[in-house]
Symmetry: C2
Subunit: 125 residues, 2 copies
């Protein structure tokens, strides 16, 4: 089976966590060549964002089993039976609230992706 | 921004549609090297499956705007504001019911992927 090549359509800007515990906001900056893919996106209240967890090291991607939610009382599960970021293809998949669109910039709430994570797809949510 | 290389973890086997309108079942065949990622997956009732819509031609991936659900009365929307399969990175994302696991084979209901589609990730749903 051949490998698949994906061109990021944008990137996440901004820190993932808010020390105050407020729902965090981050910006997705879409690459100019994909601007026309955004037509009427401001009508969406929610979006699904697929992003690449590029902060993970190669060895994180070789972890195949984890204790869900890091709870050692829960027996090991294969990563495909969990939402762990550790997995062969570390694709994050999060439903976010769209707060605003300003040209190529989408302000979203609830993403929790590292600053700079490549965004690989966006769908209405 | 560099492109991302993804190794499929498996493939879809079986036809996507059922002429009788019954909820369709398909099999996901996981590659042997990812077997340990499946531990306890049979405990999951639902799974999210990310797959690559390899049936799309290069020109489908260059479509940036569509009429949602093919309805010409609805104005054009950018593909990121829709669930259209046409998009720069044609990743399908479907929540399925897990019917059975038999070793490397997961029988699922509701996937609607083309026979042979590469599967790139599975998460608990």
């Amino acid at each position: 089976m051949l490998s698949i090549e994906i061109e990021p359509v944008g990137a996440v800007v901004g820190a993932p966590a808010d020390a105050d515990g407020r729902p965090q906001r981050q910006v997705i900056e879409i690459r100019p060549e994909y601007e026309s893919c955004l037509l009427r996106i401001e009508e969406c209240e929610h979006l699904w964002v697929l992003f690449w967890m590029s902060e993970l090291a190669r060895e994180d991607r070789e972890v195949t089993q984890v204790h869900p939610r890091g709870d050692r009382e829960v027996p090991l599960h294969g990563v495909f039976a969990t939402h762990s970021p550790m997995r062969p293809n570390p694709i994050g998949m999060t439903r976010v609230r769209l707060i605003a669109r300003d040209g190529l910039r989408l302000t979203v709430e609830g993403l929790d992706a590292f600053d700079g994570s490549p965004v690989i797809d966006i769908k209405s949510g």
